[in-house]
Assembly symmetry: C2
Homo-oligomer: 740 residues x 2
C-alpha cells in the first residue's frame, strides 16, 4: 500500500502543537528517530554541488533492488531564489529518470513547500506528485521519493538577507521544530516495506547564516546529524574543505564522508591522504560547465561513486547503531562510576549520552523497538555545574581548541602565560574584589580545599609563633595538634585532607576511608527553613534558645534573614556566647591543641543536604575567629560564581574570608580547574629566603662544569646548561642514580 506524505496543513498543525509543548523557546524537545539513516549535506562552499550529490545519492538508493530503503525523504530547510532555484524541484524532476533499476519497480515522487515567504510566487497547489514504472525482472518493488522545501524566499541571497528583505524572519526554534516534525513524520513513509533514508541539505557553506543570522552549523546542531561534506575541487578548495571540516568538528559533528568534484587539481588525493583513517574521501567526475548539458551522462558516469558513497554511509550508520547498542553493556562491564552502587544500576538503566546541546543531553534510547535520540534535561546542576547554553558551549569549545593549540601543556612555576594571568585578574577583580590578591591554581575542589588548609595552618602557626624555631624536633612538632573549626553537615571533597575537615557521617565511615578521624571541632549550626511563606530559624539542641523572642526566630522574608541589623539582636549574643564557650576549651590547652582554621560553606551546605545555615551565625563565627587570629576559609566550590544570585556568597554573609576555594563553574564544567584565592597576608606567611630543599645537592650540581643555574622545581631539580650565547633551556635531571 502506498503511504501518502501528510499534507502541509497537517504538518503545520503538528508544528504548532510542538511549539506549545516547549517549555523554553530555545530548547528543542522532541525525539529524533534513529532507525532510518539520516544525513545532513553540508558544503565546503556554495556552488560545490550539494544538490547533485543529494540527487545522485537518492537515485542510487532508490535504484537498489532491496526493499530497503523503500523511500527517500529529501528535505531542504532553507531555500532562497525560489521558485526559480529549487533544490527539491531539481531532485523531483531529475531523480526519477536517474533511477532506472535493472528490476521492475514503481516510483512515486512528490514535492511540496511548507512555508514560502509572501514574496514568493507559487503555483496554486503547493504539492505535486508523479508516478513512474520501470520494466524489469521480478515482482515490481515500490519506492517513494518525497522532496520537501521547508522555508523559501524569492531572492537568491543568503537566508538572513532574504528574510530581512522579504519580511519573513523565522526563529531558530521554529526552523528546528518544523525540521524535527518532518524527520519524525518521515518515518511513516517507509512503513510496511522498508527503511526510509533522509537527507537534509543545508544552504551555502557550513557557516552560512540561517534566517535569524545563526550559522547553519549551529542552527542544526541540536540534531547532530552525521554529515556528508561536499568538498571543493577547485583551486583553494583543499583549504576550504579542511576549514569547513574543522568548523563541523568544532560543533561536535561527525563527518561520515567527504565527496568532491575532480577539477583536475587532485584535491581529492590530498584530502584522502590528510583525512586517512578518519573520513572516506570520494571524487566525482568533472561537472560539465555547459548549462545546456542535462547532466544525464555525468550522473551515469558518477553512479559508481554514488554507490560507494551509499556503502560508506550505510556502514557508518550501522557501526554507529551497533556502537550505541553496545554502550550500556560495555559501560556496565568496564566503567567504575563514582558515588554509585553498581548493583543498583540495571544495564538497561544506563543512560547513553550521545552529546549535549545547551541544557539538554541527547540520550540514546530504544523504546518499543524503536531507536531514538531523546533530549533529556541536564541534571548536571546536582553535580554543581550549571550547563552553559548552546551558544556559550560553542564559544567555550572554540576557546578550548585555541588554548590547546596555542599552549598544549606548559609549565607553571616561575612562568607566566596569558590565560593564567587573565583568569587571575578576573578572579581577583570579581570574587576576590576588596580582599584577595593571590590565586593558586589546582585541578578540583578537593585539591583547592587541601591547599586552603595548608595555607591557613601556616598562617596560624606563624601568627601564634608556633615552630618559629627551626631546631624543633619532629617529635615535638607532632605533639602539636591543629584542628579546624567546622559545621556539622558540611562537605568539602573526598580526598583525605578535605574529609578530615568534615564532621563524621556516613560518608566518612571506616568503609569509605579507614584513615578518616575527623580533625575538627564540629559545631551544630542553626539553620533557616521556609514554611508557609515564612522564614524560620531552627536552633540545634546545643544552643540554648530561651532568650530568643519570636521576632528573633521568624522572618517575613529571606531579606530579613540576611539583614545586618540582626548583628545587634539577642540571637547574635546567643551565637557569640556559644562559640566563645566552644573555643575557650582550646585557648586553655593552647600549647598542644589549637583551632587553626575555620572552614565553612557560606550560606548553603550543598552536598550535606542543601541546608541553609543562619547567615548571622556564620558571620558571628567569622568575627569570633578573626578576633582569635584563626584564618577563615570559605568553600565556594558550590556557592561561587552567581550560584546564589551574587558573585560570591560572602556578599550575602556580609563578611570576607582569608582564603576561598572555587572550581567547577570556572570553566563551565568543561575541564577540571580550581582556584584557591587568598590575601597577601596569607601569601606572606610562606615567604622565606630559602627553600626546603637538599641544599647540598644543589651546591654539588652548581659546581659541575657548564652548569649555569640550578633550580629546584618542587621535589625535582633542574639544571640550566651554559651554552655559547644561546638560551639552551633547562635539562631536567633524570636518573640521578644512574649517573652517580
Amino acid at each position: 500500500p502506498r503511504i501518502e506524505p501528510k499534507p502541509a496543513a497537517m504538518l503545520r498543525r503538528l508544528l504548532l502543537r510542538q511549539a506549545r509543548r516547549r517549555h523554553c523557546s530555545s530548547s528543542f524537545s522532541s525525539a529524533l528517530p534513529l532507525s532510518s539513516p539520516t544525513f545532513a549535506v553540508f558544503g565546503a562552499n556554495t556552488g560545490v554541488g550539494k544538490t547533485l550529490v543529494s540527487a545522485g545519492l537518492a537515485a542510487s538508493l532508490l535504484r537498489s533492488h532491496a526493499a530497503s530503503p523503500s523511500a527517500v525523504l529529501y528535505l531542504k530547510p532553507l531555500q532562497t531564489g525560489f521558485p526559480a532555484d529549487s533544490d527539491a524541484g531539481f531532485l523531483y524532476r531529475r531523480v526519477p529518470a536517474l533511477v532506472r533499476p535493472s528490476h521492475a519497480a514503481h516510483l512515486v515522487a512528490s514535492i511540496d513547500t511548507l512555508s514560502p515567504a509572501p514574496s514568493v510566487e507559487t503555483p496554486s497547489s503547493s504539492r505535486e506528485e508523479a508516478a513512474f514504472s520501470y520494466d524489469g525482472e521480478g515482482k515490481a518493488v515500490r519506492k517513494l521519493l518525497a522532496c520537501r522545501t521547508l522555508y523559501a524566499w524569492r531572492e537568491a541571497v543568503s537566508p538572513h538577507l532574504a528574510a530581512e528583505r522579504e519580511g519573513m524572519t523565522v526563529e531558530d526554534a521554529h526552523v528546528r521544530s518544523l525540521l524535527a516534525a518532518c524527520l519524525s513524520e518521515g518515518e511513516n513513509l517507509g512503513k510496511g516495506e522498508g527503511d526510509v533514508w533522509k537527507l537534509v541539505e543545508t544552504a551555502g557553506g557550513v557557516a552560512s547564516p540561517g534566517p535569524s543570522g545563526t550559522l547553519q552549523c549551529d542552527l542544526y546542531r541540536h540534531f547532530r546529524l552525521p554529515t556528508i561534506l561536499v568538498g571543493d575541487g577547485r583551486l583553494g578548495g583543499i583549504s576550504g574543505t579542511l576549514s569547513a571540516y574543522e568548523t563541523l568538528l568544532l560543533r561536535g559533528y561527525d563527518v561520515s564522508a567527504v565527496i568532491l568534484e575532480d577539477c583536475g587539481l587532485s584535491n581529492d588525493k590530498f584530502l584522502l591522504s590528510y583525512l586517512r583513517n578518519r573520513v572516506p574521501v570520494l571524487v566525482l567526475p568533472p561537472i560539465p560547465e555547459d548549462p545546456s548539458d542535462d547532466l544525464t551522462d555525468w550522473f551515469s558516469e558518477s553512479s559508481s561513486v554514488f554507490g560507494l558513497l551509499e556503502d560508506a554511509l550505510r556502514s557508518f550508520h550501522l557501526k554507529r547503531i551497533q556502537r550505541l547498542n553496545s554502550m550500556q553493556r560495555k559501560s556496565k562491564d568496564l566503567l567504575w562510576w563514582p558515588f554509585t552502587q553498581h548493583n543498583l544500576v540495571p544495564v538497561d538503566c544506563v543512560t547513553v549520552i550521545d552529546s549535549r546541546c545547551g541544557e539538554s543531553f541527547s540520550a540514546y534510547k530504544v523504546k518499543d523497538n524503536k531507536m531514538m535520540m531523546i533530549p533529556q534535561f541536564d541534571a548536571c546542576a546536582s553535580w554543581w555545574t550549571q550547563g552553559p547554553d548552546s551558544k556559550l558551549q560553542i564559544e567555550l569549545a572554540r576557546d578550548m581548541g585555541y588554548a590547546a593549540a596555542r599552549y598544549g601543556h606548559v609549565m607553571f612555576p616561575e612562568n607566566a602565560h596569558e590565560p593564567a594571568l587573565r583568569c587571575a585578574e578576573l578572579l581577583l577583580g570579581g570574587i576576590g574584589k576588596d580582599w584577595a590578591s593571590r590565586v593558586y591554581y589546582s585541578d578540583n575542589g578537593s585539591t583547592a580545599i587541601e591547599i586552603a588548609l595548608k595555607m591557613a595552618f601556616r598562617k596560624f602557626s606563624l601568627d601564634r609563633g608556633i615552630l618559629l624555631d627551626s631546631d624543633k624536633s619532629i617529635t615535638n612538632e607532632r605533639n602539636i595538634q591543629l584542628k579546624v573549626l567546622a559545621l556539622k553537615g558540611s562537605y568539602h571533597g573526598d580526598t583525605l585532607g578535605a574529609m578530615e575537615a568534615q564532621a563524621p557521617s556516613a560518608y566518612t565511615s571506616f568503609l569509605q576511608q579507614p584513615w578518616y578521624s575527623g580533625r575538627g571541632l564540629f559545631l551544630d549550626p542553626p539553620t533557616v527553613f521556609i514554611r508557609n511563606g515564612t522564614c524560620a530559624l531552627s536552633l540545634p539542641q546545643s544552643i540554648q534558645n530561651c532568650h530568643l523572642s519570636p521576632g528573633d526566630k521568624c522572618f517575613p522574608s529571606l531579606a530579613d534573614v540576611f539583614c545586618k541589623s540582626r548583628d545587634s539582636s539577642a540571637a547574635a549574643d546567643l551565637y557569640s556566647t556559644y562559640i566563645s564557650q566552644q573555643l575557650s576549651e582550646y585557648s586553655v590547652s593552647s600549647n598542644i591543641e589549637h583551632i587553626a582554621a575555620l572552614i565553612i560553606e557560606p550560606v548553603i551546605q550543598g552536598a550535606g543536604g542543601m541546608h541553609m545555615i543562619d547567615p548571622l551565625f556564620q558571620r558571628v563565627l567569622v568575627h569570633e575567629c578573626r578576633d582569635r587570629k584563626i584564618p577563615v576559609i570559605f568553600d565556594e566550590v558550590f556557592t561561587g560564581f552567581w550560584r546564589l544570585g551574587v558573585e560570591s556568597a560572602s556578599e550575602l554573609l556580609g563578611c570576607l574570608p582569608d582564603v576561598a576555594c572555587y572550581a567547577k563553574l570556572m570553566t563551565g564544567g568543561i575541564v577540571p580547574l580550581a582556584a584557591t584565592v587568598t590575601t597577601e597576608a596569607v601569601f606572606e606567611a610562606f615567604k622565606s629566603d630559602s627553600k626546603l630543599w637538599d641544599g647540598t645537592l644543589v651546591n654539588q650540581l652548581s659546581s659541575l662544569p657548564n652548569v649555569k643555574r640550578v633550580v629546584s622545581l618542587g621535589t625535582l631539580c633542574a639544571i640550566e646548561l651554559q651554552a655559547e650565547g644561546s638560551d639552551a633551556g633547562y635539562a631536567s635531571l633524570y636518573a640521578r642514580s644512574l649517573i652517580q
Copy 2:
C-alpha cells in the same frame, strides 16, 4: 644612509649556518624579533585579494610622514605560476606609484627571489632596484620597500603539486629557516631611521598545503605571527571567512583584523556583528573586474580603509607588547606558583610563555633592549609529561574542540558516553591488558592514588573479614589501624591521603602539612646505579648482604638487572627474608594493626630523586604481599605510557598489580585526567545490594505524589518526576531545608 638588503647568496649562507645549528630537524630554533610589527596575511580562499591588501597596506605605511616605519619588508615565502604571477613583483611595480606622500620623500624599492625552482625562467639578475622621489614640503623622508620571494615554481597550482611536478621539494624546516633568516635580517632594513614593518603573505587559503604537503597554517605556526585574515565577500564568503578564522584559532593564531571586498552581499556587516568585540572587520570597495583596469582608482578609493587597517594593526601590536611587558610584574603580584619560594624568583627571571609549538615554548624576552620571541626547550618532562610534537598538538587541539563542542560538561554516574568508554577500552587493552577490567576516572595523580588506597583498603577488609558485621560501633572501627607498605623515597602526590602513604621527608614536614603522620611501614629499598658502564646494586644498611656474591650485585647490563632468572638468586632469598621479617610484626598483632596495601612506583622513584629500585626487590615484595592477601598498587603516574620504553613498567618488573594509577600523559598533558584501573576482584569488593544512604529519606521521597524514582547521587538525592508520557529528566532536590 641607505641600508642595502643583503644579497641572496649571503642569505643562503645564513640559512645553511642555521640549519647546521639545529639539533632536531623539526624544531625551529632562532629568535623572532618583536620590535617591528610583523603580520601574516592569510586568505579565506584563493583569489580574495591578499596581494591587493598587502600592497594597499604597504603603500599606506610608506605614505606616512613619520619616520616609522622607515621600511616595509614584504615576504612571499611560496609563489607558484612564477614569474608570470609574482606577488612580490606586483608590490614592487605598483606600490611606489601608490605612495605619493604629501611631504617630500625618497623611496628605494627592491625585489629579489631567493630560491626559484630549476623550471622557472628567470632573468639573469635575481635582484632589481628602483628609486623614487616625491615632491612636497619639509626635508625628504627616506623609505625602503623590499619585496622578496623565497621559493618559486613555474606552474600556477598549489605548491605541493608544483613541488612534485617540477622536482623542487622543500622541507618544512628549510622554509621556516629561510623565513626566519629573512625576518631577522629584515630588522636591519630600518636601522637608524625607524621601525620596519614586515608582511608575510601566504599562498591560497589558510589550510592550503605548502610544498611538503603540510598545511600553511601549520607550516608557519612556529612563528605564530599575528594574522590579517583577508575574508571573502562573495556568495558563501561568510562561511568561508568564519571557517578560515576557526582554522586559525585551532592553530593558536591571533587574528588581528579581518578585511574583505564588498561584493554587494553585506558579508562585512554580518561578520562585523558576529566577530564584535573580538576582531575588527574592515570592508574594501568592489574590485573592478575589468582586467585592463590598473586599479589606480580602486587603490585611491581604498586608501582610507587601509589607513584604518594600519591603525588597527598598530594598536594590536602596541597592546600586545604592552601586555607582554607587563606580564612578569603582574604574575609576580597576582599568582601563587606551586613548589616555589617566591622570594627566590626575581621579577626579571619570570619566563613569559607566549605559546608552545612541539617541544619548544615560545618565550618573550627583552635582551639588549630588543624584544624577542625565543624558542626554549620544553622542560615539561620534569613535570612528568613529555610534550607532544607539533603535529600531535594540532590533533589534540582539534579533538579537544570537538569533545568540548559535542559534550561540554555531562554527568558520569550511571551514564555512558563515547570518550569515557573508548578511553576505558584503550586503557584496559593497553596498560591493563591481562589483568585489569575496570576504570575509575578522576582529575589528577593525587586523586587517583587516594582512590586506589580506598579500593585496596576495602578489598583487604573484606578478604580479612574485618567489619563484615555492620553493627560494629564506630569506636571499634577506629581501633583498627590500616597501614600501607611503601618504600622510602616514594612520592604519590600532595593531598593528605597520598602524603600519608609516603615516608616522612622534608616534603611531609609539619610546615608542609601539620596533619601528616605517615601511615605506613616504610622500607629502605635496594637501588641500582650505573658506574663505568656497569650496573650495581646498592643495598641499604637494613638488609644484610654478607651472603651476596659479586655476581648477585654487579651486572654487565640493565637487561641482566631485569632478568627473571634472578628470582632464584641469593638476593631473592635475602629480600624475601627481610620482607617477611618486617611483615611478621603485623601478623602477630593482627587484630589492631594491619598492612592493608602495598604501594610502589614500579622501577623508578620519580620525584623522590629519580632512583631506580632493584626490580627484583619490587617483584619479591609484590609476591610476598600477594601471599598475604595484601592488595598491590602501582603508582604509574610517572612511569606509565611508554615513559620507560614499555607501555607499563609492570612489563619490566615482570609482575602485575591489583590497582594501578595513571594521569598526565593520558591527555598529552592538555587537560587534567587520571585513571585508577583495577581488577574485577577489587571492584566486586564494593558490590552490595544497598547503598550507604539515608534510606528513610529515600522512602519518604518515593511516597510523594508524582515521584517515579528516587536516586541517590553520591551525597545528593535526585527525584525523577512522573510526567505524562514524556521523559521528564531528573529534578535535583534543592534546598531540602526550605521545603520541609
